[in-house]
Amino acid sequence: MNARIAHIASNTFREAVRDRVLYNLIAFALLMSGAAILVGQISIDIERLVVVNLGLTAVSLFGVVIAIFIGIGLVSKEIEKKTLYTVLSRPVSRWEFIVGKFLGLAGTLVVNTFFMAIGVFASLLYVAHHFQRTDGWILVALYFIILQFLIVTALALLFSSFSSPLLSAVFAFALFVIGCFAEDLRGFAAMAHGVSRWLATGAAYLVPNLSALNVIGSVAHSQPVAGQLILANTAYALLYAGMALCGAVLIFERRNLK
């Protein structure tokens, strides 16, 4: 990787850590501890199912909130505080800045997810007393959640490159919610007719298909995830995030920093 991108990414990571973003782990730890104790008392034979469902959903939601609320400020905050001026007056290209910021936040989310994953497995061990071979699929679900984060981060960065932080947050969150129902939207498009079919199909393929990246339910039921799906989802997420990032770069390259 280009050294300047690495420096910008590492500074973005440092900012997130020093701004106490990782403090969300405390809330997550409390949630998982409470859930594990409660589930152990009230669930019979479905402790594993409840803990995996709850844990992975919490990992996803905590991460998406971080991705959106940090992501929307990645560019706009730098412009507002004029910190960008001293960066871009150096031999740093605008695309390097955007990519560095993206990788820095993505790195933060990966580290965050790593610690949360430890929490999920610890809770699972507490309620089930042992691990099963099928628990390995939880790692695949976590990997898909990270792919979701890449998409959401790239979208937040895209909106942040031309819009205000508030609007960027609204756009990114709306796309996340719609993306979670992308399969339903595609189903609706298939049933529609005429112009509405075209519009619905266009919208269904434009929004990120986050529902395809959600395998929490099947993993909680100890069902395996097909290798083909892993490859397809990886390619889809990288392509979608890459395109959103290219959009952010194209807009930012032309922007006057008044």
Partner: protein, 313 residues
């Protein structure tokens, strides 16, 4: 070769939400700054100084024209590695310590890892921040932030420096230190281009100055040449209600308050006025320079065109 060569750089913004209309921020600007010069870019607030600097830094894009720094295009990374920039009222990553901030900027500027720490230590010492090296910038005072700003601009030893209002917000001691630092930078052979609306700083430091108003260049040249056509004034105050008759012929404008008379006198008539007062036996209380000659020049060139330029916008 000119260190900075501005070739008709101009910027017009579109303002308004529904009905956009153009707003001229900078009219085509021609300007050359030689290597090793301290060049002052003067003008009131909103004159177009910061826009010019942002254009040179590639932060905004010109409507027309171009500029070269050290003979290269302003967007060329090799050129940018030779530039140091201090924005107006700089904010920095306040979660970093001064040392971390400088290391980060040194990394981005391509300073080699083996010399980076030494370089950062030297620069911190040079701007007087050695004791605050490990303090987070959020705990810095305004003056300390300005020093950190200057430090980040020089950490990679650039050949050309751009300072936007470097003395802004500094106390008299801080301003003196910045002036001394700029003088040192010139002695090291670096080119310094700085914008200011504090004329005394420009008059003290600059080899040449340019005056800009409402986006238009109003004058450029060596301070002594620019001011050769204008003259400063001094205020003479004396005790006693008497005003010698000869003072009117010397161009003195007198105002009395109680038994104190104050007269505004052209600088070249200062000795003649003092002699006249002494001949009358009046007690001279004070002699104060009122405006430096650059201020006279500045005011003379900005005021008459202000109304017409304003009407154009």
């Amino acid at each position: 070769m000119a260190a900075i060569d501005i070739l008709g750089l101009a910027k017009t913004y579109s303002v308004g939400f529904w009905r956009k209309h153009p707003k001229v921020a900078l009219r085509p600007l021609q300007l050359q700054v030689e290597e090793g010069e301290i060049f002052g870019f003067l003008g009131p607030n909103g004159a177009g100084k910061t826009t010019t600097l942002k254009l040179l830094m590639g932060l905004v894009f010109p409507t027309s024209g171009t500029a070269k720094i050290l003979g290269g295009d302003i967007g060329d990374p090799r050129v940018k590695a030779q530039i140091g920039f201090l924005p107006e009222q700089p904010y920095f990553y306040d979660y970093l310590t001064a040392r971390e901030l400088l290391e980060y900027y040194a990394q981005l500027s391509g300073v080699e890892a083996r010399t980076r720490s030494t370089r950062v230590r030297e620069v911190l010492q040079r701007v007087g921040l050695s004791d605050a090296a490990n303090l987070q910038l959020r705990k810095f005072s305004k003056g300390m932030l300005q020093r950190a700003g200057i430090a980040q601009a020089i950490v990679h030893e650039p050949k050309v420096l751009f300072f936007d209002e470097p003395m802004s917000g500094l106390d008299p001691v801080g301003r003196r230190e910045v002036r001394d630092l700029m003088e040192e930078l010139r002695q090291e052979g670096r080119t310094v281009f700085f914008s200011t609306h504090i004329l005394s700083d420009a008059e003290t430091l600059c080899d040449r100055v340019a005056i800009i108003h409402q986006g238009e260049l109003k004058g450029i040249g060596v301070v002594a040449d620019l001011t050769s056509t204008v003259e400063g004034k001094v205020e003479v105050a004396w005790q006693g209600a008497t005003v010698p008759a000869s003072l009117k012929a010397l161009g003195a404008q007198c105002h009395s308050a109680g038994d104190i008379v104050r007269a505004l006198v052209p600088e070249h008539n200062q000795d003649a006025v003092l002699d006249a007062l002494r001949r009358e036996g009046l007690r001279i209380i004070s002699l104060t320079p009122v405006r430096t000659s650059l201020e006279e020049y500045y005011l003379r060139h900005l005021q008459p065109s202000g109304a017409s330029a304003g009407a154009r916008l």
